[in-house]
């Protein structure tokens, strides 16, 4: 049996190659995922070993509850720590934010972290945390260091003047050196280092540090040092030994990579699932072609089981080859994924590829098991050939069983799936994960009835093909000849496309909702905020209000007050202009309340109302930051919205009680609208301070989630592409088989005068029809799934309404046509090149 199987594999190698491709791509995806996550995991481990090696003890002072800011330790503490026995070095760190502008003025770092810190030289004048690659350490208030990536992107070289801002006006500092960092700034953020004194002054408090690390002498245990240090540090400081730190980081990283690997494996599984259709198809065709041979084996005494087994052994051999090649390809895939993640700026560390023995084993196991699973049904069918078929001169494939039972099962599954989806979609919160089950059921149901659908669907398209003449008449009829084959080929494509479409529907709907809402609630052209998450100094609003381009403006000036037992943040806005700038959806009351009521009216959003149980017209006693007291009246309640402050009150009422003025943002309307010209004029008015962000409503919507959604969707598209590629291979495979089976017909057509180009067109049209059929099914199912998923998402995304992305659907359909044409290229060429005479003799 084994020898027969081996011979068969070798005899049909060309045809099996396509099948093998389907398996090996799936295997490659799995291997790629495993190798990638192993590699990332190892790189993390490696990184902690290097960066954390010199840390024996790390200490963070407790949060200063009274001041409401992180705690600090002074230089005296550092001095006493340095005197501890067994201490090799003590490093005090200062951390904060600083925005950097590139040499040409544009801000660097986007929305990534814009970190700042101190360069803390040890006895040898170097800071181990930040090795210098050029220049020297900063030694005065006007000198800074940048990390290599920031310097590169900003176009800075040592000696240049760097424009940056910490929390206020633009500072100009001389770049005296460049440091290497193995943190994530390389992927988009920025890092600025000052000398110790300057860092403390700008980022913290003079003479203070917000964290301390100790390095122990050789032979001093970390635990002992930690215990001794605890005595000298403020009470309740968080103290970890280097070992604990490394373990914690490793565990975090492992957690992160495990999550990632699970997501990737899900997509690998989808790709393999699609592969099963392609493999199953091939085996069905191979077995049909060889039915006479199988019958002969049965006639000379092979048992049914033996015939089945011989086909399965064939599948196993194929799976083994696919596993081996897929494994090699997977290593390439791993590098590809790493590239993909690197380009999205996720900041994963780099390292040598790591391949564990279990990955090798899994590659072969997946290859063999998936192939055998897919070949099982065809193998069973092969064995069902009656021995007498060997005697019949005419080659008769086993009659196809009726589709009635199959359709009944499929229809039932679809109904169950649809009902399940509808039920879970309306059940809210807990439906989110359970919707997966009925959705899968629905897809499977569709796959089961696809053969029955293929006939009518293709018949529907036939009139459109008339204009292609005879090829256009024959192509749809050929596509309908073997509904099962057409169906499973189309199904493979359907799976990928339904997921892509569903995803697109949800993503486009969510993004549209965000933009719509930003558009509706924010009437201002621009919102100006600080990049570091802190407030803007009052000067920003003053400058903008004076600008000739600005027609109206208001700060969102904030202050923490006490109301009853609660601390509440109140936002003061300008009652005269706020109506031009914001348009909250009021449940009761209106913006007019701010101007009326003697300035004693407070507007709140619905969630604030819920939290404190305040109602319209209620009077609330307020204790201001400066101790002043007042009673405010709830003058309006508006729908809660991320583009609106949670509370609004007249600026004039709040202002006198403020100890220091900080604006969460400034809203402006300009003469020139919300275009780039207006933006630039605002930026110029603000001295192009890199700390200040000027965003229009589209930017606000993108920042509120639009951008993240787009990024996520693109990554998922990339992952689903693998499933689509395998499906395309399936189309190629099916058409190659069809051409092979119809050799004689094609010979006859050529004999009676079908030109080679017409022959090609006939095959290509068939290919396009099958692809389009799969695409239409997939898009239809995808829209339904997208709708269902949207029902669940609409709870968390206000104003969510399903948007059918017609543009992208058109692109997907055009893509399907392209896929059809491309998949048909090779089979069509083969068909056109067939020798007429040999074809006529073929059976």
């Amino acid at each position: 049996m084994f020898r027969t199987a081996l011979r068969n594999v070798l005899a049909h190698k060309a045809r099996l190659l396509m099948t093998m491709l389907a398996v090996l791509l799936g295997v490659a995806f799995v291997v790629g995922t495993l190798v990638f996550t192993d590699t990332v995991g190892n790189a993390y481990k490696e990184r902690f070993l290097t960066t954390l090696r010199s840390i024996s003890v790390q200490a963070t002072p407790p949060f200063d509850e009274k001041a409401g800011e992180p705690g600090t330790v002074g230089e005296d503490t550092l001095r006493s720590l340095r005197r501890l026995p067994g201490v090799a070095s003590v490093t005090g760190s200062v951390e904060g934010f600083a925005a950097v502008a590139a040499k040409d003025g544009h801000p660097l770092g986007g929305d990534h972290s814009t970190a700042a810190g101190n360069y803390f030289p040890q006895a040898d004048g170097k800071d181990d945390r930040h090795p210098l690659t050029a220049g020297r350490a900063p030694t005065g208030p006007d000198e800074v260091l940048l990390d290599t990536s920031t310097a590169d992107r900003g176009g800075y070289e040592v000696g240049d003047t760097v424009r940056l801002a910490v929390d206020g006006p633009v500072l100009r500092k001389k770049l005296v050196g460049i440091v290497r960092t193995d943190d994530t700034y390389g992927s988009g953020g920025t890092l600025v280092l000052f000398d110790d004194t300057t860092a403390q002054k700008l980022l913290l408090k003079p003479g203070q540090y917000d964290g301390i690390t100790l390095e122990a002498d050789r032979g001093t245990s970390e635990e002992r040092l930690a215990a001794e240090a605890r005595e000298l540090l403020p009470k309740d400081s968080e103290i970890s030994t280097g070992a604990q730190l490394r373990e914690r980081e490793r565990a975090d990283a492992a957690e992160g990579t495990r999550g990632l690997s699970q997501v990737l494996l899900v997509f690998a599984a989808i790709a393999l699932f699609v592969g099963v259709f392609v493999i199953g198809n091939t085996f069905t065709m191979l077995v049909t072609q060889r039915s006479q041979e199988m019958a002969l084996m049965r006639a000379v005494g092979a048992e049914r089981r033996q015939v089945t087994r011989s086909v399965l052994v064939e599948a196993a051999l194929l799976g083994l080859c696919a596993g081996a090649v897929g494994f090699l390809l997977g290593i390439g895939v791993a590098m590809g994924i790493r590239q993909l993640f690197a380009s999205t700026g996720s900041g994963l560390p780099d390292g040598p590829l790591s391949v564990s023995p279990s990955t090798v084993l899994i590659a072969f196991l997946v290859g063999v098991v998936v192939t055998m699973l897919a070949a099982y049904l065809p193998a069973r069918r092969a064995a069902a050939v009656p021995p007498v078929a060997a005697m019949s001169a005419v080659h008769t494939p086993p009659p196809a069983r009726g589709l009635r039972r199959r359709n009944a099962i499929g229809a039932t599954t679809i109904v169950l799936g649809v009902l399940g989806v509808l039920y879970t979609a309306s059940s809210g919160e807990q439906g989110r994960t359970t919707v997966l089950l009925p959705a899968t059921l629905l897809l499977i149901g569709i796959i089961v009835v696809t053969p029955a659908l293929s006939g009518p669907a293709i018949a529907l398209a036939s009139p459109l093909l008339r204009r292609f003449g005879v090829p256009g008449t024959l192509a749809p009829r050929n596509a309908r000849r073997n509904p099962r084959r057409t169906a499973s080929t189309a199904s493979a494509l359907m799976i990928g496309l339904s997921l892509v479409t569903g995803l697109t529907v949800v993503a486009v709907s969510a993004t549209t909702a965000l933009h719509q809402r930003a558009e509706n609630t924010v009437r201002a052209d621009f919102e100006i905020t600080s990049k570091n998450g802190g407030g803007l100094p009052a000067s920003v609003h003053r400058t903008l209000a004076k600008s000739a381009d600005v027609t109206s403006s208001s700060p969102r000036r904030q202050s923490a007050v006490r109301i009853g037992g609660d601390e509440v943040t109140l936002t003061g806005v300008d009652p005269r202009t706020i109506g031009d700038l914001l348009d909250p959806g009021f449940v009761s009351g209106s913006l007019a309340a701010l101007g009326a009521g003697g300035g004693k009216d407070l507007l709140i959003d619905t969630s604030t109302a819920d939290i404190y149980g305040w109602t319209m017209g209620q009077r609330v006693p307020v204790v201001y930051d400066d101790g002043g007291r007042a009673t405010l009246r709830i003058g309006g309640i508006y729908r809660d919205d991320e583009f609106l402050p949670p509370t609004m009150m007249p600026l004039a009422t709040l202002q006198p009680h403020l100890k220091e003025i900080e604006d969460a943002s400034v809203l402006v309307r300009t003469k020139a609208g919300d275009g780039e010209t207006a933006r630039h004029s605002l930026e110029r008015a603000l001295d192009q301070n890199p700390l200040i962000r000027v965003r229009n409503t589209d930017d606000l919507a993108e920042a509120a989630g639009g951008e993240a959604i787009t990024l996520l969707v693109n990554v998922l598209y990339g992952l689903l592409a693998m499933a689509v590629v395998i499906a395309v291979l399936g189309v190629v495979n099916t058409l190659a088989m069809s051409v092979f089976e119809r050799t004689r017909e094609i010979g006859m057509l050529r004999a009676v005068g079908l030109q080679p180009e017409q022959t090609k067109r006939m095959i290509r049209l068939e290919s396009v029809l099958i692809s389009l059929f799969g695409a239409v099914l997939g898009i239809g199912a995808g829209i339904f799934l997208g709708w269902a998923a949207g029902r669940l998402a609409s709870d968390s995304i206000q104003g969510y309404e399903m948007v059918i992305p017609w543009g992208r659907i058109a692109v997907a359909l055009a893509g399907a046509v392209l896929v059809g044409v491309v998949a048909g290229l090779w089979p069509a060429r083969r068909a056109a090149r067939l020798n007429i005479l040999t074809s006529l003799k073929a059976d």
């Binding site: 003449g469 050929n478 017909e745 006859m748 057509l749 004999a751 009676v752 005068g753 030109q755």
Partner: protein, 255 residues
């Protein structure tokens, strides 16, 4: 050897081959299938080509019909020299000027009988001549079967569809390759009657390859091939005469 042709003016040939030679393979595997054959098929005549297996009769027909290209020699179809045609032109020639009937019916299973009949014209994008088409359909007796798929027709009916297809486009010449090979004798006789009738009543030119003396007896003329050469010829044949000539031929050339 160049047997003398019947007395006819050259332009009365529907197809004519001069010194037609076909060689397959090279070196040890070299086979001369046709050896400088010169033969003409007169318009309005039914010619049968006979010969033992491997005599080159199918190769002769394939070359004449533009399905295979000769190694040497020239072929004229009407006034067209086929050797100078490229694949496209040759395909168009087959489509517009040649009718084919194959042994294994060779109908398209996805097309019904009528669609199969009009296939060459559909490929050409040409409207069939209604009256002519109907008379052909009447003749082959398929009027009530036109909507049937080949799988719903008997072998004889399928071959009648094939004959109708060959005749429907009013080709210059019809080539039939063992048209009765897969049929029982009654169905075979029907097919031969149609071919005969198309020649006698409609003036069609038919060339038929066969190894069946009874089939050959329907022809006006029988050309005998052996080892790639024309070795004999018979006019107004009877089955007995053909059998007798074959008998004379076969032992001498049996390998």
């Amino acid at each position: 050897m160049h047997p003398h042709q019947p007395l006819s003016a050259p332009d009365s040939y529907a197809a004519h081959a001069t010194d037609l030679t076909k060689v397959y393979g090279t070196g040890d595997t070299r086979v001369v299938a046709l050896d400088a054959v010169t033969v003409g098929f007169v318009r309005g005549q039914f010619t049968a080509i006979m010969g033992p297996s491997g005599s080159g009769k199918s190769t002769l027909m394939h070359c004449m019909a533009g399905l295979d290209s000769p190694s040497f020699g020239s072929i004229r179809l009407g006034d067209t020299e086929t050797g100078s045609l490229n694949d496209r032109q040759l395909t168009r020639l087959r489509r517009d000027r040649i009718g084919f009937v194959f042994q294994a019916f060779n109908l398209l299973p996805t097309l019904n009988a009528l669609e199969n009949i009009t296939l060459p014209m559909d490929i050409a994008g040409r409207e069939p001549e209604r009256a002519w088409l109907e008379s052909i359909i009447q003749t082959v007796g398929l009027a009530d079967r036109l909507g049937h798929r080949p799988a719903q027709l008997s072998g004889g009916q399928q071959q009648r569809v094939a004959v109708a297809r060959a005749l429907a486009g009013r080709p210059d010449i019809v080539f039939a390759d063992e048209p009765t090979g897969n049929l029982d004798s009654r169905s075979g006789a029907e097919i031969l009657d149609f071919l005969r009738g198309s020649v006698s009543a409609l003036g069609q030119t038919v060339v038929m390859v066969t190894h069946d003396p009874v089939a050959a007896s329907y022809a006006d003329r029988v050309v005998f091939l052996a080892d790639g050469r024309i070795v004999d010829e018979l006019h107004a044949p009877t089955a007995e005469a053909v059998l007798e000539r074959m008998g004379r031929l076969t032992p001498a050339h049996q390998v």
